[in-house]
Amino acid sequence: MEKIFDRTGENAWCPGCGNIGLRNIMLSAMSELGLKQEEVVFVSGIGQAAKAPQYYNGSFFNGLHGRALPAAAGIKAANPNLKVIVESGDGDMYGEGGNHFLHAIRRNPDITVIAHNNMVYGLTKGQASPTSQEGMVTPIQVDGVFEEPLNPVALAIAMDAPFVARGSVGEMEKTKEIIKQAVMHRGFSLVDVFQACVSFNKINTHKWFREHTYIMEGHDPHDRQAALKKAMETGNMPLGILYMKEDRAVFEDKLAPYEKSKQPLYARHREFETVKKILAEKA
């Protein structure tokens, strides 16, 4: 199948970096879904993962570190017909961007978030990220990380995010399927994807991820308690769709301009008459 989003050319990632694998998964998922280039906008922050949109053939908004989600919601607010896919790193999404993560879940725009979770700050050369494991020694965390790692999927389920899944670059097929479902899910969908940073994370390697994950079977993603339990498993961590919920109100549906029509804002024009009418009410 032709990968229309494939943009050939050099990228800035290390050989063996998980970002490369995830890019391939994304390219396949998008072509299998038949997404059209003019309908998709990739959104990211700053980081190694956040460079992903630069390497697609498509429109993108490569914003500030940590601020992908507000921009993504803004894009949906201006044009609900666009497919918005956010790709960003664990530091971007759960560190600098943590507050937006919480509130984007509450707001529930129809966007898909692919979090490239390599448990480290790659671009800035190896500091701990919110998902770094306890004990990891870095140039800043000289005695090792003592903070408890943030568990993005447990957090998202506790926030009642309507689609929460975990993938791993080591499980291409499975992860591709998850991503496809996430993109098709209407509302906020999170796919936290394990991937190795071969340059700065010597603990959570490709091998480590393989050895510490398994593909879930028989789990009912509509059972929130079970989902939470699964999400909180440590040691050997489940991959798959942890949680789903279908009936949440979607952000852009609730915005006044889209009460009657989904026409994007750029295509609309407000007549001065409308203003004049409101002015007249001030008499």
């Binding site: 280039q37 003019e38 309908e39 906008v41 959104v43 700053i46 460079k51 949109p53 630069q54 053939n57 498509g58 429109s59 993108f60 908004f61 490569n62 914003g63 500030l64 601020r67 989600l69 507000p70 921009a71 993504a72 919601a73 803004g74 894009i75 607010a77 201006a78 044009n79 017909n81 666009l82 507050n99 937006h100 919480l102 509130h103 707001r107 952000f251 915005l255 006044a256 301009p257 009460e259 994007p264 804002l265 750029y266 295509a267 609309r268 024009h269 407000r270 001065f272 409308t274 203003v275 004049k276 009418k277 409101i278 002015l279 007249a280 001030k282 008499a283």
Partner: protein, 560 residues
């Protein structure tokens, strides 16, 4: 002989109902043919303290805060304490002696009268009635207002309020007829049908006229008023409105929306804007229009949250890391607020840059009447093109402006990158080539914005030797002071655009022998901008920073 105007001040605790008295009174007085101006000053609390509202009625428009009080209605003793500096020999003090004591108090037993109709809560209506009586308001207008205000609460309540108003009215009439209170202001039949608009209304409606269709904010006094106004019109005018979790979100959401073709605005105050500074720089880099309504209050930090200041000019001019173009408008009047808010969108869209509307608490919370005819039709354009394959978002053009596409409209890709980028919008490390071109592109746009800068507004003597320089919400106070002093050699120059300054600035200033800068901040931030632009160092700076607006009297003193 009729007075030119009467200054009525209501004061009391937060929660005592000043705002409801104010809104009734202002509606009635305007309807009755008075020019009305109202402004409030209040504490950052929901209960207690002392808040006050000033209402000025006049035959001809009077639109600025006055120190002096003609008719003072304190609802509690603390009000007298707090405002005592403004009570003069000519101030009539009207109040309920069971609530307030003052040697000059003209006792009207608001509460006892109200109780006669079954509840002390009618006492505010008694007060409204008595003020109307004093001012000689047409009784029918009073009653029809009271009626329409209270009918929703049931016939009985409406009826009791009517009676309360009528009792108050009778007392007021008597006070007037006995000559105990001598206020007498002429009405003006020409104001019939006038609008009553605040600075907040003006900016919100101006934004709508400029095409604003998305507004994101996090509540912050005094910036929230505009946000609330936008929310209240979201259905009528099809606006995407969302309360963000913080100001950083608001700004980045606005940029996302603009990127995708919205005309978006954020509204905030200094501290909230401080959090948007990184986002502002992003707007500059990705050349995405956004309008920032920045309503100033005194800082630093939380400062005086409900008060007024012009202390964030420097912040608006210099905030953001790296260089990028911007424009800053600062309206002096309600009409100008409307026009500049609309223009802000045009400028933002045309130059694909962030644009400020810089107001303050005094500006947004003050309102007065004016004819609808002052609001001319505004046409706007989004300056958006349909893209073709190979579209380059940052195409290098002669004037630095690249045709703006949005995703989903046309077949090109629209790439916005916060890194330094090439014409296509993709990250680059080509320093001598692309980086330099992109910097120069942004500088060209800055030059264009400067060329388009609004000319200053000069009033007073044509042939001036003395020149008052000011900006923003000081406009009306200075203009009124000028007309009071009426000095044949003094003019006043007001800058609706404070950055970048128009080239004419130097010439205008050079004509004067003496220049006086009037600003509401500690250092004279605008005078410094002028120094940078023109080399002229305005030594005489009249600065105020206690959180209260300049009064007409203060300016008169400066001019004398």
């Amino acid at each position: 002989m009729a007075d030119k105007q009467a200054v009525i001040v209501l004061a009391g605790e937060a929660g005592q109902g000043i705002q409801s008295i104010e809104s009734m009174l202002v509606g009635i007085l305007k309807k009755d043919g008075f020019n009305v101006f109202a402004t409030k000053e209040y504490m950052s609390r929901v209960r207690g303290g002392v808040n006050s509202t000033e209402i000025i009625i006049s035959e001809n428009p009077v639109r600025a805060f006055r120190e002096k009080i003609d008719l003072f209605i304190p609802l509690n003793q603390n009000s007298i304490e707090r405002l005592k500096g403004r009570i003069s020999g000519e101030t009539a003090i009207l109040g309920d002696s069971t609530q307030v004591k003052h040697e000059k108090l003209i006792n009207v037993p608001f509460q006892r009268i109200a109780s006669e109709f079954g509840n002390v809560i009618f006492s505010n209506t008694v007060a409204v009635g008595s003020i109307c009586g004093i001012l000689g308001v047409n009784e029918e207008i009073l009653y029809s207002h009271v009626k329409s205000k209270f009918t929703a609460k049931g016939d009985e309540i409406a009826d009791k309020n009517l009676k309360a108003a009528s009792s108050g009215y009778a007392i007021g009439r008597e006070l007037k007829n006995n000559g105990i209170i001598k206020i007498s202001v002429k009405k003006n039949s020409s104001i019939e049908g006038h609008l009553l608009l605040s600075g907040t209304d003006a900016i919100a409606l101006g934004a709508l006229s400029g095409g604003c269709d998305a507004c994101f904010a996090y509540p912050m006094t005094p910036g929230s008023g505009v946000f609330t106004a936008m929310a209240s019109m979201e259905h009528k005018a099809a606006i995407a409105v969302e309360q963000a979790e913080d100001e950083i979100c608001a700004m980045n959401m606005a940029l996302g929306a603009s990127y995708a073709g919205a005309s978006s605005m954020v509204s905030t105050s200094g501290g909230g804007f401080a959090l948007m500074v990184e986002g502002l720089s992003l707007a500059g880099m990705i050349e995405t229009p956004v309008v920032v309504h920045l309503a100033q209050r005194p800082g630093p930090a939380t400062g005086l949250p409900t008060r007024s200041q012009q202390g964030d000019l420097n912040l608006a001019v210099y905030s953001g890391h790296g260089f990028f173009p911007r424009a800053i408008y600062a309206p002096g009047t309600v009409k100008e607020g409307f026009e500049l808010a609309a223009l802000a969108f045009e400028t933002a869209d045309k130059f694909q840059s962030p644009v400020f509307v810089l107001s303050d608490q005094y500006f947004v919370d003050s309102y007065y009447n004016m004819p609808i005819s002052e609001f001319h039709e505004i046409k706007y354009e989004k300056h958006i093109i349909e893209t073709k394959p190979g579209y380059k978002r940052y195409q290098l053009t002669r004037d630095g402006i690249s045709p703006r596409g949005v995703p989903g409209f046309g077949s090109g890709f629209v790439c916005a990158d916060s890194d330094e980028h090439d014409e296509e919008g993709r990250i680059t490390e080509d320093l001598d080539g692309v980086r330099n071109s992109m910097v120069e592109k942004r500088m060209k746009k800055a030059a264009l914005i400067k060329e388009a800068a609004l000319e200053p507004v000069i009033t007073g003597a044509k042939d001036y030797s003395r020149l008052i320089v000011s900006w923003g919400s000081n406009f009306n106070a200075i203009e009124e002071a000028l007309s009071i002093v009426n000095d044949p050699k003094t003019a006043f120059v007001h800058f609706p655009q404070v950055y970048p300054l128009p080239k004419s600035t130097a010439e205008i200033l050079a004509q004067a022998k003496e220049i006086i800068d009037i600003e509401q901040n500690e250092t004279g931030q605008f005078a410094d901008l002028i120094k940078l632009e023109t080399g002229i160092d305005i030594k005489k700076r009249v600065l105020k920073y206690n959180g209260m607006p300049f009064s007409v009297e203060e300016i008169v003193k400066v001019l004398k």
